[in-house]
Symmetry: C2
Subunit: 548 residues, 2 copies
């Protein structure tokens, strides 16, 4: 027998309705070109209404994709709300990718419309757009710059404010199935090839709810949340949606993440909670210590949920001296992204907690984790036994987007099925679990480097380098970096008959990679170290680097 409870779908429209009815006076602050723009939640919802109306007028049909190539801003938040609530799929494009990569993604998602930030319009102009695109809408333009170029290749380029104003003040949000797709986000998280993760309304709302739990992020209407992590990364780690649901105020700095800009925004908007990769806070702590930023300006800031990389004890304790609590989190695009959050178990004493707080955290309520050893067995939770971290839950990916498959489901080898038929995401992270349930990520099984919170594929760099006529063998590894956490370092052995000067490998890579992905250093070795099977031994290269 089925229950007799309301069929009340968990959708983004539900968040929109709550903003409107419960938190109309809460504020979104966007700092763009030194000007603070503010809008209430009531205004934000009204603008989302108009945006949806305009998108519909532009030829949108339910189920269509709308892509954004945007930083963090009022306009991006409006797209977050309007596109899913009207039955569309929001495709947030990583602005740090190359035009070639963007072109591949657009060819897969075939958006009806693209919303682009003024600063990213030049990138998009260099990209060949698929025929599906009806218009490009540019956000953040100065008034005096609202004269846009005429249509490029037949596609009109429109100003966001003008476009939005063409929609009516009311939009009749459809009642959607909560299992419908609401967003797609590409990741290079588990292999070098980009893969799309397709979020549902249900997964998005449940994930947002999980960020309100007292034992966790504990986002509240009393908070003002500054999302610094780009909103193109896994829904800005879920903070914009969770803030809307909780009624927290929000603050955005568009593309800026330098300490002085953030400090000014924190002070202006009264930010209580902010989220970014450790690099951002390392820079901020430095300025606090040097006196360039006065601690008073950060008086409202209490909580920093940090992900993307492990946090050092120095950063954690350093910020605590200023009354700012750093909280470890862990996740991936595939996990919406919060899978682990560090909170204190009631039974830990101060020493135990100091140790446990350096781990990535406990599974979010709703998620389940396990560690599978090399031998395929379940690792005991003893704080030592390591293996691959696997995770399941209502906001964990079940498949990757495969536009060529009828079922749209791909990437089956990235998932595991247990004896009870339950599916687990293979995270590619090597971890152990303490007896108290704290997960520690100790290594990555995948060949990736994480620099400033962004993935760099060593495999991709190696393949490209291998095409250079001077290269005999090449290996790229990640090395620790005080600011970016990791940077790529390339080891090369040259072909025997290379008689010219050492090639400029960086220049060679520039045509194919964004600058930030290119190694600063290329170390020439006579021969690269090999394992017993003749395979390149990267562990040995890491040893060489550490002892140097």
């Amino acid at each position: 027998m089925l229950g007799l409870m309301q069929n009340f779908p968990l959708t983004v429209s539900m968040i929109l309705r709550r903003m409107h009815s419960q938190y109309p006076n809460k504020t979104v602050t966007t700092l763009r070109r030194d000007i603070y723009h503010q809008a209430t939640y009531a205004q934000t919802v009204a603008r989302a209404n108009r945006l949806a109306g305009a998108i519909k007028l532009a030829g949108f049909r339910q189920g269509d994709c709308v892509s954004t190539l945007m930083w963090n801003s009022q306009e991006h938040l409006e797209a977050y709300l309007a596109v899913p609530a009207m039955g569309g799929i929001l495709h947030t494009i990583n602005a740090r990718l190359s035009e070639a990569a963007i072109q591949v993604m657009l060819g897969e998602t075939l958006p009806r419309l693209i919303l682009v930030d003024e600063t990213l319009a030049p990138v998009l102009r260099k990209t060949t757009l698929p025929a599906s695109v009806q218009a490009v809408v540019v956000a953040g333009l100065h008034k005096d710059a609202q004269q846009l170029d005429p249509a490029v290749e037949g596609i009109p380029w429109l100003d966001y404010e003008t476009f939005m104003a063409s929609g009516g003040p009311e939009f009749n949000w459809p009642e959607l199935d909560e299992n419908e797709a609401c967003g797609i986000c590409y990741t290079s998280g588990t292999t070098g090839k980009m893969k799309g993760v397709v979020y549902s309304h249900r997964s998005t709302v449940l994930h947002a709810m999980s960020m309100l739990f007292a034992d966790g992020i504990a986002l509240s209407e009393h908070d003002t949340c500054m999302t610094v992590v780009p909103m193109y990364h896994a829904h800005g780690w879920g903070f914009p949606y969770a803030s809307c649901l909780a009624g927290a105020g929000q603050a955005f700095s568009v593309r800026q993440s330098d300490p002085k800009t953030l400090a000014a925004l924190i002070e202006y908007a009264g930010v209580t909670l902010a989220t970014a990769v450790p690099t951002v806070w390392i820079n901020l702590l430095e300025k606090l210590r040097s006196g360039e930023i006065k601690p008073d300006t950060l008086a409202s800031l209490k909580s920093l949920p940090v992900g993307g990389a492990a946090v050092s004890a120095d950063l954690l304790n350093g910020l605590l001296e200023y009354g700012i609590k750093v909280r470890h989190c862990w996740g991936m695009t595939e996990t919406s992204p919060l899978g682990l959050v560090s909170t204190r178990r009631s039974w830990l004493n101060d020493t135990q907690w100091a140790e446990m707080s350096m781990r990535q955290g406990l599974p979010q309520i709703g998620c389940e984790v396990r560690v599978i050893t090399d031998k395929g067995t379940l690792a005991p939770e003893d704080g030592k036994s390591t293996g691959e971290l696997q995770i399941r839950g209502p906001w964990i990916a079940d498949a990757y987007f495969d536009p060529d498959s009828e079922s749209r489901r791909g990437g089956e080898n990235c998932f595991d099925v247990d004896s009870q038929g339950r599916r687990w995401l293979k995270t590619g992270d090597i971890a152990n679990i303490s007896p108290d349930g704290y997960v520690k990520i100790v290594d990555r099984s995948k060949d990736l480097i994480k620099s400033g919170g962004e993935w760099i594929s060593s495999l991709d760099l190696e393949s490209a380098m291998a095409e250079h006529p001077a290269v005999h063998e090449v290996a790229v590894i990640g090395i620790p970096d005080p600011v970016w956490q990791e940077r790529p370092l390339a080891f090369v052995s040259l072909v025997d008959n290379w008689d010219q000067p050492q090639p400029d490998f960086a220049a060679f890579l520039e045509a194919r990679f964004p600058r930030w992905q290119i190694p600063e250093r290329f170390v020439i070795l006579k021969e690269l170290p090999k394992g017993a099977t003749g395979k390149l031994n990267k562990a040995r290269l890491r040893q060489i680097t550490n002892s140097a």
Copy 2:
């Protein structure tokens, strides 16, 4: 296109798994006959495994109902976990109902098994059980009392511990559809006739999650929750499930709710949060003020989410002096039950909050409310305009259980449908909403009296009284009571030719109502006041009472 996220059902089994993997050392304390019994969550889960195994051996099939006639205890918690997780429907019987009422319910739910507390076994013995019942299992027996009567009418009566031990240590919990029924609870909340509300796994888990939100009950692993409200009332207001999900410790006092027993349990178990109707706390505050209970014994107690009736400013401020925060909540069996929770909006000053904290609260995140006036229009949220409170959300009832209908859906007149086709539960409560969203219940549209958190139907009392040969007309109203909040008071006019002494109406009613439902006073009037249409004017009777 559908999302590509895991199909991870929200079921009670998910709560069970989390207790096992994340909180094995948390404790459940049951105070029974002056002895503190304790079990860890690991032991509780192990016992739930055995209980499920034993229930299956007793002939249970998926979808079957298992009824409980129990107070708050370890055993009842085990039934809460095992029965739904194994695919059964847990029917919690209100122990304060008459045998006749219990018999009606059992005839509708047709349980395979009945679990009964030792103190309630005599009640059940007087009840004719339906043929579906395979066994009655008695919990809480003294060792020396484990010799039970042989089978009554062919149904064996078994000892809970012995029965449970017959199940194996492992149970293979099935993967369930989250929309399956997991519980049924009868209410007389909206009319005199009892109606079953059928919870789903999904509604139960989402409701439990909502109790973890920072802006709300904010239940945490750091809490120990004492559920005093009977677990037969709307899942004990959701606290047992939410505690299991959050990993909070739990404390139960079986049927005791006197201040001294509760104070002792609070001290023993370190209770931080407790929940009961105001009557319980009125009594506790009295003992605190008289010095019979030392404030030190309640040092751990911080939070009292209170529902079932409005809390007076005296109670709220009185307990605050001892560091105990009372929080208004509102709900019904039909709302799982938490629909409104009082939390402070960030923008309220102390004076505003003092006023707003006397209201029932804000809609839980996930719920939506509206007030519909007599004219069928939407009342403005001005803190004055009143009408019937309506509510919708993922844990709000969509229909009442109708065993005679093929769809099992009944009570359609208790629901409203808006212009967008969305369904709303008509609560029967008269309310207004403040501009900040705080709902105030000002009256009941239904003819019911709430005494010590339990409903008494004035209609039922009047019908029974009318059968007495001396009665010409009768009206029963609720009058304020310092301890029980409300008590019934009967007004009677006698038939003209009644020449005997005033009848003992209380004795007359005793055959049909439990003692606590029977009025203490029967006032004889020459004639009952009428309205213009000749209808009994209860408002006039209330005025008479107030001015007396």
